[in-house]
Symmetry: D3
Subunit: 240 residues, 6 copies
């Protein structure tokens, strides 16, 4: 049995709260169980130097964790004066995942900046971030359309992400912190609503994993992400 009492293929309770803060063009509080991440999407009317004058847009992401989002307090990265390697990996992953579903040339010379800030951590903060950021970006782009600044939203489809892992021999979906800490293999999968894989990152924490195990994990992730995308659509329709 999982520490969380869930079935192997059962997600934690998921909540997507749109408009969580008032200033950002898109602002979503995403909850995967006790994991809570505030995802905002900001629209800026300029692009980074390497794209200036090329008529296309850009999308990038930053990630942070409040010092006491975790069981014991972590040092504040702003006070240490640098972001950890883990932070940089995660923010690069979020950016790549969202760029995969946005037509940057249709965005015009604009930049979408995603900020994912973890208010409370209980495992899976990067996959929750991607899932919530998708809705925040959707809302920001819808705002541009509503304001007549874009004819159509350049978002092609939704994208979501989930973690899977082999916990005590069983492949399980959407690990919480207790499961994650006691897991041999941990994999994060990012997939679009159309079933296209964007990122597959599997890591053996202890024992190596086999192709068969990899396949089982991918199956679990596939099912989980399909449900997450449904929840994103429900939220966007205003029914969440």
């Amino acid at each position: 049995m999982r520490p969380s009492q869930r079935q192997p293929d059962e997600l934690r309770p998921i909540r997507l709260t749109r408009g969580f803060t008032c200033h950002a063009e898109g602002s979503v509080l995403v909850e995967f169980g006790a994991t809570r991440v505030l995802c905002t999407a900001s629209v800026e009317d300029s692009v980074p130097g390497f794209l200036r004058g090329k008529g296309q847009g850009w999308l990038t992401a930053e990630y942070g964790m409040l010092p006491r989002a975790t069981h014991t307090r972590g040092a504040r990265e702003a006070a240490k004066g640098k972001q950890s390697g883990r932070t940089q990996e995660i923010q690069r992953l979020i950016g790549r995942s969202l760029r995969a579903v946005v037509d940057l040339s249709a965005l015009g010379e604009r930049q979408i900046i995603i900020d994912c800030d973890v208010l409370q951590a209980d495992g899976g903060t990067r996959t929750a971030s991607i899932t919530g950021a998708c809705v925040a970006v959707h809302d920001a782009l819808a705002g541009l359309v509503a304001a007549g600044r874009l004819a159509h939203s350049p978002m092609r489809e939704f994208v979501a992400a989930v973690s899977v892992g082999i916990h005590r021999g069983t492949p399980v979906l959407d690990l919480d912190y207790a499961e994650d800490s006691d897991c041999d293999t941990d994999m994060n999968v990012v997939m679009t609503e159309g079933g296209g894989l964007i990122e597959v990152q599997g890591t053996a924490e202890g024992a190596a994993f086999s192709r068969a195990e990899l396949d089982a994990l991918l199956d679990l992730a596939d099912g989980g992400i399909r449900r997450l995308v449904e929840l994103q659509h429900t939220a966007v329709r205003g029914e969440a």
Copy 2:
């Protein structure tokens, strides 16, 4: 008339939500109108080097603002690699204000670390931070007493803070962003529940201010802080 339609001596709606996150020993979401700050108090069983072996405790504070807490996105301090002078001023102020009401020698060789992170900004983030941090520290210390690790709480009394300013010639209480941006003189006052002044920081943004204006502002602040302390007590009694 104030842009906010409030009376000159009227606070914004104040909310103090205890237990907003689950890991910290004290965790309070404080709202002064649209200003929302998450204040956590973490207890660590060690003290900074300069106090080691002296049998007394320490209390310090850090402050941050989420990049999109504001109207336009601000750069993430962790990404820039340094905290601004403004951030450092504020976190030093929060630390001093709370140390003024905690008996550090009664705390033992422990450190309380306050984190104030602004989720949404609409003026007065530093005064909201102090007001919310007071309740978070109260809760963290109450937890030490409940766990039998301290006989009594070393918190002597409550402390709260409010901003006051001269807006178009009228002294007003608890400025929101619109008022703050259009204000000649801005003052932050930190006062204990017993009426003792802890900090008075008045600044002429445009024209200098007179002693009479200073007195009017202190009167307003005195009234506002007394109401804030009542709200802190209501929150702590579980009635907020």
Copy 3:
């Protein structure tokens, strides 16, 4: 009795030496007793980016302390690679204080940069800095007028600053280090020659302070600053 044997309302011996170094447009060594600060004002023919093309000037300040200005050697900030929070607070205060008495739109697209470097510290370095910087800025602006680059000096009036505090129950003026270390309440007051308050920063180091004490401190500061402004005028007339 004060450790310094002074009357409660007595300033330390004050000296303002103009032209202390030869390259800066304004260069003043200010001494408040054993506290010695070299204040220079540099004129640059450009403004920071946020003001470019707006036809107005800017004034900013930097502050530093030589490592062995103090009783025990402090780490050199350049070697540590960052300025402390205290340094940043002080340089922001100096800049605000001087901007309050200079008409920046009359300055044209020029920038005045004040550098206050403490050669020897004995309490009150920030108030000495403001008092000395005022004369250095005066001299730099007078130079622009003398050179025909400005028709009139954009300095409206003088500004000076002093510290006051409650030492063993008695409100006293212009604290030296020995008094400052043994003081319950410490306040820095910045006031113009016309009696307008620019900054009031009162801090309870130990016990909180009352409105009555605050009033007594403001009275003392008012008298001290008036005498400092007289000394500034004497210095500028070349009689110091």
Copy 4:
């Protein structure tokens, strides 16, 4: 046809030169075609703080690229004062990959530090680094056994890595720079000599990829890594 004229499942010419430099306990120049990485393994008789006194060892890795290893010169990270997110991702990956095949508790309180420095880059620097570092670590551990400081080598098996990708619709093995720049999907696979997967990192650079494509890529990688491990054994036997 591939730009490199290779068959889809053909590795570039691989060379592993042991003892490339003289000071390190293990020193290997690894070449995957024109990609050349110097991998050293250094043994230190102490462990990081978090492991002190626990009787076990540690292995970590650092990665760098000489500024002109690439077609156009890249900025020197030491001069910029920070390592890029890419650098940090790669060095974390190298460390995890090698830790997976070394029994850290059998290593004793020692640390192995791997340095992978790219002298010339032509795609696949991270997979070459892992493949070369494995031999360098092998040699460093063999040295400890030869010196009588360890009874047996704590390396359980070899580990190697290769990149695979979908180039113009065809799954291909071991991408060089020209292929990598023109590739929709890029995957790095780290696998042990026993066939256990350590890391699978697949990224859609352009179009998403399907499960069938993922499977084809994993098959290719499996074959490539088996050949790389053979070459590692040949090198270690001194026949390379």
Copy 5:
């Protein structure tokens, strides 16, 4: 006798391998005995800001040491986030030495960036760097001439460098690490092919040195540098 068994005026075996890496416009591996430094010269079609629009070129140098180039591993400067004072001294010296033999106004608005990266250190890395960098710069400039981008090479003559020192009372040429560590006086001399001195940097590590000793060292250096320049010419003619 010298630890290296060499005669006092005997250089170590010197090798200059051109084209050591493929991307840089000039790329030379220089070996002074066991000291091996990779020197690349990169040509960029822009100049630093302070020279923009002045119609002249620039040449600058950066220096680094791979962490395990030395007997015991040194910290990676990129990971520490700053270059040491020693690194900065050396790279400034390399830049000045090469600028002395290149006619920067004849170079046009181009910049040559030299990178000297020490793969293996055994004393004399800065003098080997200058000697190797000269050939790398020669090759980069010859490439500009061959491509018709410059009519003539702006390199006026060659430059080389060598260390000399007083080892146990005897002046010796080209110190290796063992000699350098046991040396009272250490001097680096940079001289052009025409015999002009560019830099003389003599340092007493223990006892001070006399004018007579200085003269003896300069004589030794003169002979050594003349032989190094011959070897540079041999290498450039393709006979090395």
Copy 6:
């Protein structure tokens, strides 16, 4: 004729003012003409980690320039967050020069920290720093003897430094800024009172220099340093 109207072998007016500030164990204002450097020597009862427990002392130096010590304002290194390569070279030179005349094993486990801060620059700040620091260190060590903490001063002899250069074909002593900017060769010489050379650093700024020119410069420096040492002795005897 020199711009300064001095004879080729004529020093600028030299002043050494002891006790310039009150807190440091040694505090000397040194003036070489318009160049003014405040040199302090601080005694600390601990040594850096690499010397702990070895029963010997250490001496190190830091150097800085006030932002407006120069004709145009230079950026403050503390604000930039790093020391320039030039600053680091100079402080390393000052430290080496003084260590050459202090018997560190006779100092005990103490550290002397020299701070040289340039108040006004007109060429030759590094040589003035060494000359002034020597007197400051002398005074600090004399204080330890006077306090009975050392039986004898561990300073073996005095050390001083001067710059020499070839100005428009003529070798000249003690260059001021105007001469230094218009000089082909610039050399700094550090020599002990006994005539032992500690450092010789000659640099061709434009044309290379010959052995004959080097000899002429060393002769000039020798004479200049002998006079500086006399002035140091005069100052120490209290006759300056």
